[in-house]
Amino acid sequence: MPNRREFLQTGAVVSAIAANGVIVHSAHAVGANAPIALGSALYDDRYAEGRRFAAVAGGRGVATRPLDDGDVTRSYEELEQLWRREPAAIAGFTQFGPMFVIERLALERGMRLALRVEHCAARPDALAHRLTGPRDTLALAAGFDALHADWPGLMATIAFHVAHDDSPQRFSEIATPGLALPAREPRAAPLAPFVHYYAPHAEQQGHGPALDGPLYSWVVAPPLERG
């Protein structure tokens, strides 16, 4: 039986991690707060990593919804209506903009961003994962000081173990050596580009299409109800 690190470094799929109980046991070990119950997951399907995130999340029984070519409009409208009736936790794997929109909407509905993981190429020859979230969740993630290639699947799994904890959020950083920032995949039938008057600064300066920024895994959740 491999230990946790050996298991992760084999590159085995993360859904199997939950199946053999490694994360579940770890989560229970590090904190007393119950995990947030996710209702759905939103993802950017232009990235293989986004689809992997959704596959793992969907495998755990939540409804998954892709953005429309990166556009969060439809999800915003649906959540705006849904959250008027009742708050519901949601996980996501998106660029900054859609996360920002959902976070702002959540704040207006009395919810908050419970977990935010920025995936960025900030270290030489490594993909950095910058986590801001509850102590228990970060303690869980910190056990994996080097995430393997299936980090999107691991992020989806961690999303299901975000502790229901309103205490001040902590920050930590871990890395995946040998990987770069995910790249959008070219579409078989490219869509006409959106032309915005509020184009990114770089585009306005004639530097051509802007590069992708970091990607984010995140969880939005209602506040902890105290008895």
Binding site: Y76, Y198, H201, Q204, A210, D212
Partner: protein, 544 residues
């Protein structure tokens, strides 16, 4: 308890908060750090610095009567209030006050669509109604009406108009304050006033005629602090039979002068909606190192050099997208007229037919349109602007993870003004150490009779140096622009005094007039200190 506003004692602040709780219900007065933090400006270029504008508390009334009570309580305790509709004017302050310590009056709960009249093409709404809300209301009732929406569409119809916000369709609708008709305002003494026809005992003609009788005072409530607007009427656009788009390309750099003249003519006659000028040659820089070298050479390129390059590569120097709204046959004829007129005047002009639609769109068509078109052009609110990628390039690595704010000077609506503004501002940007697309920047045409040479300046949540650089650039640019007669039409909070100060004719007679009004109407200075650069007397020395 949070720290009290400036000039208010802890005792007074506590007493005021208790009264606010009694007025609106304790659950609608926000005073915990966690709740008040929600009113931070998400795009603040002063984030985490001592100057960041922060609220002391917030209160969310749901009725006009509650707004009046809030204002009366504020007068009793000299409590500075900062009303917001939904607080979505990102880049211009969001939901944060200009004066730190103000109590935000959050009007999101006042979200009634009071009336929509299909026959008279109008609506009356409260400040918490978003563009999505109004659009949904119209769609659900299958009314043959369009709204004109800004980008993105989650903001308040009232708030956007009061901030002189803009949209994308025909001129009389995309000027959102200009398309309002009648408003209801809680004055700083708590009294309720209406303007235009809404001031009649019966408001049956509220949204039909702006002026009513006597002076037109509604303008005093846009970008200002003379009251809290609780309802506004708006003129809506009848759903057109069809929409089509066409693009005009002109070969030479100085063709922009004639091109603007002809496009102005088309728009002044009401034949087109908002034009969209661009420089295909400018976009070619990304793939043409020779062009980049030409632009970077000392002294810059001559017009002739740019024209030679454009001709050799078969790239237009400028283009303009024209939008047509109306009966299918009529707009086809208008596009044909535009081609004939511009083709005869500018040798080498080329014309591309663009998309065309008939309305109403089916759900399938709408899904298709959503993927290939700017929905704002056809009055559909959306959030696609947030799909824009991270905004970094190797040449310009500044992060946009904290958003942006805008330098937005108004210039005359001529081609000569575009070229002159690019020359002047290009030098100013260089002096400020900020890259600028000097030879190819095109204006935004949101406002009907003037151009806006808008540029975004990056904001970072993590790197205060980026924010300091952006603020310094804004100050330098605003000063240079003012010297050339180009004032900003909006401003981020840190820039309101600088921008207001540029409107300085006759020793700032305009600002002094506004201050005189402020002292008379709001002697306690409780409403939105600093908005529009107008400060109450007791704060006039501090400024933003």
């Amino acid at each position: 308890m949070p720290a009290p506003p400036p000039g208010v004692s802890n005792t007074d602040f506590a007493a005021a908060l208790r009264k606010l709780e009694a007025a609106v219900g304790p659950e609608w007065v926000f005073k915990s750090d966690e709740d008040v933090a929600l009113y931070r400006d998400a795009y603040s270029p002063e984030r985490d610095e001592p100057t960041e504008r922060l609220a002391s508390a917030a209160v969310a009334p749901i009725t006009v009567d509650q707004v009046q009570q809030v204002v009366r309580i504020a007068n009793e305790h000299r409590l500075p209030l900062y009303p917001i509709s939904t607080g979505k004017n990102l880049g211009y302050g969001g939901s944060a006050p200009i004066l730190s310590g103000s109590v935000v009056v959050d009007l999101k709960r006042m979200n009634r669509i009071v009336a929509v009249d299909e026959g008279r093409c109008s609506a009356v709404v409260e400040p918490g109604v978003s563009y999505f809300d109004l659009y949904r209301h119209i769609q659900e009732r299958k009314l043959k009406l369009w709204i004109d929406t800004p980008d993105p569409g989650w903001g308040s119809v009232v708030g956007n108009a009061l901030d002189h916000g803009v949209g994308y369709t025909l001129g009389q609708y995309r000027d959102h304050f200009g398309s309002h008709c009648g408003m209801e305002v809680v004055l700083p003494n708590g009294e309720l006033m209406r303007t235009g026809m809404a001031a009649l005992a019966s408001d049956a003609s509220w949204a039909d005629y702006k002026y009513g009788f006597g002076p037109y005072v509604a303008g005093l409530f846009g970008q200002a602090n003379f009251g809290i607007v609780t309802k506004m009427g708006f003129w809506l656009m009848p759903e057109p039979e069809a929409y089509r788009r066409g693009t005009v390309h002109v070969p030479k750099r100085r063709d922009i002068v004639a091109l603007v003249e002809h496009v102005n003519h088309l728009e002044n006659l009401g034949l087109i909606g908002m034009p969209g000028f661009r420089s295909p040659l400018g976009f070619a820089q990304a793939r043409e190192p020779e062009l980049r070298a030409l632009v970077a050479k000392p002294g810059g390129p001559t017009d002739e050099e740019l024209d030679r390059f454009a001709e050799a590569k078969g790239v237009a120097s400028w283009s303009v997208e024209l939008q047509f709204y109306g009966p299918e046959k009529t707009i086809a004829a208008n596009w044909e007229y535009a081609q004939q007129r511009i083709g005869a005047a500018i040798p080498g002009s080329r014309f591309d037919d663009g998309v065309s639609y008939r309305f109403p769109l089916s759900a399938t068509q709408q899904a298709e349109v959503q993927r290939v078109h700017r929905l704002v052009d056809i009055g559909i609110p959306n959030m696609s602007i947030f799909a824009i990628a991270g905004g970094r390039t190797p040449q310009n690595p500044d992060s946009a993870d904290g958003g942006q704010f805008y330098f937005a000077p108004m210039i005359p609506r001529t081609g000569e003004a575009i070229l002159e503004a690019n020359r002047v501002l290009g030098q100013a940007y260089r002096d400020a150490g900020v890259p600028y697309n000097q030879y190819f920047s095109a204006p935004a045409c949101w406002h009907y009779r003037a151009f806006i040479m808008i540029t975004s300046l990056p904001v970072s949540r993590l790197d205060p140096e980026i924010n300091r650089r952006s603020r310094a650039a804004f100050r330098a640019l605003a000063q240079v622009a003012a010297e050339h007669g180009w004032g900003e039409y909006r401003s981020p909070p840190f820039g309101v005094d600088l921008v207001a100060g540029a409107y300085s004719f006759n020793d700032h007679a305009l600002l002094r007039f506004c201050e005189t009004l402020k002292d008379a109407i709001d002697p306690n200075g409780i409403i939105a200190a600093g908005r529009g650069g107008i400060w109450p007397k007791h704060l006039r020395g501090s400024r933003a």
